[in-house]
């Protein structure tokens, strides 16, 4: 699975500009899907047919990643930028970004006069090696993603955009392994999650599912001085109970938990105090949808070294296959 993870996490795909990621995912799922569709916003939707006895289930994993967009080019050729999604200023200095055309930039900041201080985002700039505004190869409005090679050390996997390419990998693997299902399952590789769960909203409007399950990362409480949270890396997929945008469907949470127990899969219960997922958009779409989320524990979310554990990834696939292989009675 690491080859696929590497391929996806190293791809360029800031919110709104997910074409490259979609082009990588499409051939992976094409042989296993009964039908494929790309909608108006760029969501890739794969339908796996059921035997007619189950529900309509939407699985959502988002293709987009956080990034930056050029807002101004100085006369010396430096690029000022704004954020695409939740970019923390302390993750910027010294990092590298890549534009759609392959141009790479390094991030600098205005002079720091107070040691240890972090400048706000607007006091950073990107240096693409241009000597002037006129010779700068980048334009205002161009989007860039962070650049960082994939790292696998034992079972720990680190990369930029693990959020949420790892969810995409889990969706792809589940589709590959899901031999028979009672359900009409729609795997949605969604766009624009990081800017407000926008892609999943229109996909859910289209599909009008009975059940929605997002696959996304969640933070952990297992690093030094962490905000207390009962989710650790490597202790299994986290079944979301609540986050700041959604309370998961109680019946669906119960089924997820039951399937994990029956199959002897490790799992944790997740209460996330800040953040939400595509499940929120699905839940309040149309006349309402039973929604939940399988979260992949992840350290350093929204940094360039988002870190997950391979066993959690494997067990997330196992759990989702269990859920989709059996009846869902809400």
């Amino acid at each position: 699975m690491n080859d696929l993870i590497k391929k996806l996490v190293e791809a360029y795909g800031p919110s709104g500009f997910e074409d490259n990621v979609r082009e990588l995912i499409r051939p992976e799922i094409e042989p296993f899907a009964d039908e494929l569709l790309v909608d108006a916003l760029g969501n890739l939707i794969a339908h796996k047919k059921g035997d007619g006895s189950g529900l309509k289930v939407m699985i959502a994993a988002h293709m987009d990643e956080i990034g930056v967009m050029v807002s101004h080019i100085t006369k010396e050729g430096f690029l000022r930028f704004t954020n695409i999604g939740g970019v923390y200023p302390h993750t910027l200095l010294g990092n590298r970004v890549q534009f759609a055309d392959g141009t790479i930039g390094v991030i600098g900041s205005d002079r720091i006069t107070e040691r240890g201080a972090v400048h706000p985002l607007e006091k950073h700039f990107i240096d693409v090696g241009a000597a002037s505004r006129e010779t700068c190869p980048v334009n205002v409005g161009d989007a860039a993603g962070f650049l960082r090679p994939f790292l696998a050390q034992g079972t720990r996997l680190s990369a930029k955009s693990m959020d949420d390419r790892i969810g995409c990998v889990i969706a792809i693997e589940t589709l590959k392994r899901l031999s028979e299902t009672p359900h009409e399952v729609y795997f949605v590789f969604s766009v624009q999650e990081e800017v407000g769960c926008r892609g999943a909203q229109v996909a859910a409007n289209r599909l009008d599912p009975d059940v929605g399950i997002a696959l996304d990362v969640t933070t952990t409480g297992d690093v030094p001085e962490a905000r207390p949270m009962a989710v650790d890396l490597g202790k299994g997929p986290a079944i979301k109970v609540k986050d700041s945008g959604m309370i998961a469907h109680v019946g669906l949470v119960k089924i997820m938990r039951q399937r994990a127990e029956e199959a002897n899969l490790p799992f944790q219960m997740e209460v996330l105090e800040a953040g939400t997922t595509d499940a929120r958009s699905i839940q309040i779409s149309n006349g309402g949808t039973a929604a939940g989320c399988i979260s992949i524990p992840c350290r350093y979310v929204h940094s360039q070294s988002e870190t997950v554990d391979a066993n959690d990834v494997e067990n997330s696939v196992n759990l989702l296959v269990e859920i989709l292989s059996k009846p869902i009675v809400l």
Partner: protein
């Protein structure tokens, strides 16, 4: 004198009460469209049938409403407390003339004269909740005999042209409305064009939400007036957009990422037709693209805007050639809008 801009900007249509603007626009377009109707929210929807060459459904939106105020309470001395309808910098309100209620009663947002202020008062910002509208009434009863709680107030600014520029209120978004009216007055497009003159944009992009739901378009174009901040500045910061440099093309704001394929189509169209354009600095703000884009199963949507200085104040300024170029660019963009432009290659 551009009579269209004059009549539209001088009309009053604070969010939620756009009827005066709607009636004006209805009369201006009725002879140029095949059908029109007003929906439950007050949006004016008009259909201009196409030549039949293309079966796309294309929505073009401009919002009729403007920012304004609403009467909330009468004080015993006859002055009027108010709340904002849409976003303001409180400093833009003080000392301004407003027209209040259906009878358009003249009022003043009173300011303490400089003779009677201390230096500390002059150096602090007066908050809107400390301001009152004064219609010259001496008592609560005298004020409430003329106005009701809930009545709206709009700025009073006569439209004027000064060489290449025009000054007026509510160019945001009557400039867009004027452009959309011009787009309806020309030859039919290859596809059916659904014009939406929408309500309640300034209070959260609300009218376009129901209009897009009803129209079910395949693609949409939003015509706006976007804030220009382009005055001289000692720092090397780019203007958001600048007056006189052509139509402003949105890429991303706080509420939406514009469809990249439509953005490319618009910029390519501008280049082909020698129309100047500028990419609006990405960042804050929001347009009806956000709600149209995410209606139903999603709609590829983009925004073209007339740059306007001093948005959400009584006096805005636009450049008339920018306005003319927005009309030209929007028309050229629509006429060359083929279905393959909005199809995803993978």
């Amino acid at each position: 004198m551009n009579e269209l801009l004059k009549s539209l900007t001088e009309a009053v249509g604070v969010s939620g009460e756009e009827k005066e603007v709607r009636l004006l626009i209805r009369d201006l377009i009725a002879d140029h469209v095949d059908e029109w109707h007003v929906d439950a929210m007050g949006n004016l929807l008009a259909l201009k049938k196409g030549t039949g060459a293309s079966d796309l459904r294309v929505l073009v939106d401009a919002h009729m409403d403007e920012v304004g105020l609403m009467v909330t309470e009468f004080d015993s001395n006859g002055t009027i407390r108010f709340s904002n309808v849409g976003g303001f910098d409180d400093r833009a309100l003080l000392g301004k003339v407003v027209q209040v209620g259906p009878k358009k009663i003249t009022g003043i947002i009173g300011a303490r004269p400089i003779h009677l202020t201390t230096s500390s008062q002059r150096n602090s910002v007066v908050k809107a909740d400390a301001m009152r509208i004064d219609i010259g009434a001496k008592t609560k009863d005298a004020a409430s005999a003329q106005l009701k709680i809930g009545d709206k107030a709009a700025f009073v600014t006569e439209y004027e042209e000064l060489g290449p520029t025009a000054i007026g209120k509510a160019f945001d978004d009557r400039a867009g409305c004027a452009a959309l009216i011009e787009l309806l007055r020309v030859e039919p497009y290859p596809f059916d064009l659904h014009a939406v003159f929408s309500v309640q944009e300034e209070v959260g992009l609300r009218g376009a939400m129901t209009a897009a739901y009803a129209v079910k378009p395949d693609a949409a174009l939003v015509l706006e007036c976007t804030p220009a901040y382009d005055l001289p500045n000692k720092d090397d910061v780019s203007p958001s957009v600048a007056l006189g440099k052509g139509p402003s093309i949105y890429v991303m704001d706080r509420t939406a990422i514009q469809d990249p394929r439509l953005v490319s189509h618009i910029t390519a169209t501008a280049a082909e037709n020698d129309i100047p354009f500028q990419i609006r600095r990405p960042g804050g703000g929001g347009t009806n693209t956000a709600t149209i884009q995410r209606s139903r199963a999603g709609v590829p949507t983009a925004t073209i805007a007339v740059p306007g200085r001093y948005a959400h104040t009584p006096a805005m300024m636009i450049n008339l050639s920018d306005y003319a170029n927005v009309v030209k660019l929007a028309e050229a963009t629509l006429r060359s809008l083929a279905p393959n432009i909005i199809q995803h290659s993978s």
